[in-house]
Symmetry: none
Subunit: 225 residues, 2 copies
DNA sequence: CGTTGAACCAATGCGTGATTGGTTATCGCG
DNA sequence: CGCGATAACCAATCACGCATTGGTTCAACG
């Protein structure tokens, strides 16, 4: 019985119409459905592919076939994202976001915020461990984000940072050592804050980008001084 | 041997110092650690509680005890962010992110992804309701994000879109109407995809920015045709 | 040339049992 | 009584194996 795939398609449509399944409900697996409809699996699959193309159903390996439109998988879970990504992607994303964030911070930063940024830099200079340094570094970058006065952007950057902290678990520095006084970030941080203080949008953007490029260089080649 | 809990605490500190465990690494379970240190579990637990209070370690049932600070579960509370932000901020953030996303998509998009983009545009032209149109529009923008091959960036954009949908939940369009055939987004979408297909990074960035600026204009003055 | 049937693959879901931090109870010892 | 050691138990989590499911390949058949 060589039912053409067009015949199988009409038969499948009739089945769905008669079943009257609600949205997001699962319909029988392919093997079972092919037997109920009396068509071979490859033919049934072609018919299902048509319905999927039409947006009437969506399928996923291991889960099944469902009625309605595919729910976009919100990767909001930090740990799940951290598992899929890698340090290189994190840096690419920071380079995409943070220069523009610094630019907008140069527009909206309040004097109090700028003062707090300087405070962070000062304290980061006199830490006794990399761990403390990173704490002040994080706080500085978040202050820049707050200075944009964009709550949504701030939330996105918080998510990014949470992922960053999770994903860089492989890197272990000897916590005994402390950042050297000529650490490149010190002067770079000061350039960024100075640009923000001068309301120099372009310079804020550029200095942040240069800073992150340096960080990226260190990250990919940690042995280079 | 009644070792006071203070003695156990110093012993535990010595153990952690000698072990030199990296951040986010798990240390032995309580039962095992109590045996190696020669102290009873309740006493060890008190010492661990002190370290946890100090922020040096964090614990969770079923997972274990870990070095460092507890990973803050800012699991992107969409609703909370949506309450703090507003449509203008959403558009500012989209304008900050998506042009650069389009640029990177122009670099990494696969032929299959480009074909799928064209498919989205075609289907969005022949929808019968704004709701269906927005569904295809969302899918198109997400395809562009996927084409960057940056899982972290994709997750951030998903969060942004979730917030956007929540924020614009109040304003509903009459769903019986359908997008007019000369809707500005049609040609703009095609420009974006064409630029991506041509691997023209700058043009992809510019066309996406122009598109979003148009969307912003419509959003702020929805009555203007 | 298309259809069929079968086997295989990778991703997912599920159930079972082990592991782990947290809690409670009991006993020993001063 | 007070303090600590020991044990048992609880709930959350994880690790593992196994079945299921969509996706793919391939040989056989008409």
């Amino acid at each position: 019985m060589s039912l053409g795939h067009d015949a199988a398609l009409t038969q499948l449509r009739a089945f769905l119409a008669s079943a009257g399944l609600p949205f997001n409900s699962r319909l029988p697996p392919e093997r079972e459905l092919s037997e109920t409809l009396g068509v071979a699996r490859p033919v049934l699959r072609k018919a299902l592919a048509v319905l999927e193309q039409e947006g009437q159903i969506w399928r996923h390996v291991g889960k099944g076939t469902f009625v309605g439109s595919r729910p976009l998988d919100t990767h909001a879970d930090i740990a799940a994202v951290a598992r899929r990504t890698n340090p290189a992607e994190v840096m690419r994303t920071r380079l995409l976001l943070e220069p523009e964030v610094a630019a907008q911070a140069a527009v909206g930063a309040t004097p109090a915020q700028i003062q707090e940024m300087r405070n962070c830099i000062e304290r980061s200079r006199s830490t006794e461990s990399w761990r403390q340094y990173e704490s002040w570094d994080n706080r500085l970058h978040r202050l820049v984000a707050e200075a944009t006065h964009n709550e949504l952007l701030l939330a996105l950057l918080d998510t990014l940072n949470a992922v960053r902290r999770t994903v860089t678990w492989g890197r272990l520095r000897p916590d005994r050592a402390s950042p050297p006084p000529d650490h490149h970030s010190f002067t770079e941080h000061e350039e960024i804050v100075a640009a923000i203080e001068d309301r120099d949008v372009q310079r804020a953007r550029d200095s942040m980008r240069r800073h992150l490029e340096q960080v990226e260089r260190k990250l990919l080649r940690p042995q280079s001084s």
